[in-house]
């Protein structure tokens, strides 16, 4: 097993143990120099010429390919752009068009709300009997019937870390004639994913969590290569056109995954992400997984020994869990604020989830032990029972 720890490649503030890389990854050390170059040597000096000379136009597919390696997607089958919500919409819209005789999008109540909202918006626009149906996560398998046009699931539950079985559910969807869309928000860079083996039609994800692309980093979309030349992009913007600079009056979708591009890509964000992806050079996701589970098992064991009143909200079986561990506590919001105040950054998810992310590129066993000591102090001494920790602010 190769060691994946590379703390020295990140900026981590003094006195902080960061267990929230599943919300926003920390900054890889080389990003500022890269962005400085993009601004001073490319934008400022090349001006409009940067689109060709600096390679800005090709970045969305180049970065897509570097992410593809971590999620089992062939080179040229992933492209970057927009936000995850927009990419969800594109995947869903293309999916329902592939099953014109069906009317139901199936998802589960554990899915990230924005995915459900985007589906609601889409079915509202489509009218004609289109419907979003959401069931409990454990009922998904039995709810995949021949009414279902598209099954849309997030592999790792954002609150509990519970994992769906990607291979099995994709097979069930296909057996029922449905299209499968996977959201990899908490999977890409967190756990091994093999999109090609799963045979799903679409996958989407974000890059500001485990891929450390920075706040608001662009999203990605994968289309199974055999479908990429026929999938309808719905958001048919000019950079998805076969010949964007011909300025035709009619849309002709581009070749393969390129058609999933929409508007002008965010070059500064794309460059930050491209630089951040270099952290993954030579990293094998199987090694990341083993290291992540070691940290998680240590954390669960130490927390349960030290603080019995915290109830594990994540699956106890490590194979059923992504790269985070969540505990339930009635006063979880205040407790998390008290923990953060002492330098251990996790986050809170309503109604009562204290969530801790494990990112073995920059966390080790000593960090886990130190974090547990803080949690123990907060819980044993009820340090959370202070009015200042109970004022609700926006938590992301």
């Amino acid at each position: 097993m190769a060691n994946v720890l590379r703390k020295e490649q990140f900026i981590l503030p003094e006195g902080v143990i960061y267990l929230d890389g599943n919300s926003l990854g920390p900054m890889p050390k080389n990003v500022p120099a890269r962005l400085s170059g993009v601004m001073n040597d490319e934008w400022a000096q090349m001006l409009i010429g940067g689109w060709n000379k600096a390679g800005w136009m090709a970045q969305p597919t180049n970065v897509g390919t570097s992410i593809g390696r971590l999620i089992g997607a062939a080179a040229g089958s992933v492209v970057m752009g927009d936000t995850l919500s927009v990419k969800v919409y594109q995947a869903l819209a293309a999916g329902v068009k592939m099953r014109p005789e069906r009317r139901v999008i199936l998802s589960d109540k554990g899915n990230f709300p924005s995915d459900l909202y985007m589906a609601e918006g889409l079915v509202g626009l489509l009218g004609q009997g289109y419907e979003l149906r959401t069931v409990a996560p454990e009922d998904v398998a039995t709810s995949i019937t021949d009414e279902i046009a598209v099954v849309m699931l997030t592999e790792v539950d954002y609150r509990t870390g519970r994992m769906h079985d990607m291979q099995a559910l994709t097979k069930l969807a296909h057996d029922a004639g449905a299209v499968m869309v996977w959201d990899l928000a908490h999977s890409a860079g967190a756990i091994p994913v093999d999109l090609a083996a799963s045979n799903c039609e679409f996958a989407v994800g974000c890059t500001y969590k485990y891929l450390n692309g920075g706040p608001g980093a662009p999203a990605f979309i994968y289309v199974r290569p055999d479908l990429a030349d026929t999938a309808e992009p719905a958001l048919s913007g000019w950079l998805g056109h076969a010949n964007p600079f011909d300025f035709d009056l009619h849309y002709t979708p581009g070749k393969g995954i390129e058609r999933m591009r929409v508007g002008t890509p965010p070059v500064l964000q794309m460059a930050a992400l491209e630089e951040a992806m270099k952290v993954w050079d030579g990293v094998d996701m199987a090694d990341v997984r083993r290291a992540s589970l070691d940290l998680q098992e240590q954390f669960i064991k130490e927390v349960e020994q030290a603080v019995p009143q915290l109830e594990l909200a994540s699956p106890r079986d490590p194979q059923a869990r992504g790269s985070q561990v969540s505990f339930r506590f009635e006063h979880g919001y205040a407790a998390m604020q008290a923990v953060i105040d002492r330098g251990v950054i996790g986050d809170f998810r309503a109604p009562d989830i204290m969530r801790f992310g494990f990112t073995p590129l920059y966390l080790d066993a000593a960090d886990v032990t130190a974090a547990v000591a803080v949690i123990e102090d907060v819980m044993t001494n009820a340090l959370w029972d202070d009015p200042k920790y109970k004022v609700r602010g926006r938590v992301t």
Copy 2:
């Protein structure tokens, strides 16, 4: 008339006269320091806390308000995000929902193709007889009938600079019961716009042209304040939700313009744009307009004297023209490459348009004279007739 020239606030490469700020504005000098701060002091040090502590979450509406001042939109009626193509889609989708009994989106063949493509994508998804109808720009007025749900026009033609009459066409649209959507891509920061006076329902625009926000800077959308609490966002992402951090399973649109937000905003791009907007402090768009027309009139006069074979493609009447001047020339592509090669950067638009943008914040009369001298040299001596200038690359 106040002088709006502030060259010292921009980085402009040595030996370059930049007449392409209508494609990508040059870099305001203070942007790199701001981005460096966002990376090193905010992302790296505050980590997830940056969303609140550094104000990232509020940026899309704050920056929207600073742009609103330049386009006659009240504070809080403009929000940033996504790309212009995506914002066009949101405006169109909301517009057609406001006129459920109508089926036609009207636009013109001079519109920027991506706007037409997004409309094609939308009507394709809607089915049910929805239609995009495009007419010649001069036929728009007579084509606004009671079949039209939404009129979508770009105020300034991207090739010729020809301007539509925003007030008159909006009134015609309203008289016919249609919703009006204006694309201000070549208007915002270029010419005075008074959205409130026009009474249009929606406006959208980009910020990497005259607003100098950088490559891939986020787009904006305006919704008329009396409609902002009822317009349906279509792309109903979590950051447009009334309470995004409640993680409800169902979408409830946020208050006013906030509902037009979709996914996580691109913080680095947003900060670059916010910094770039400081260039406009104390600038009156009426002064910008006067200065722009002075430069344009000088340019047309000097070019026509020096190079009679160039045919003016822009309206001769300055009041009918935006902030650019275009000339037709059969070998316009090669000629523009030859001109660029000599330090005067304009651009080419198929099939035969040589386009020059005028941006009086960083261009003066001496720049115009120097640019004309280069154009004269290239044209008089047929310097464009060189094979190296005829190889087509991507031009943006």
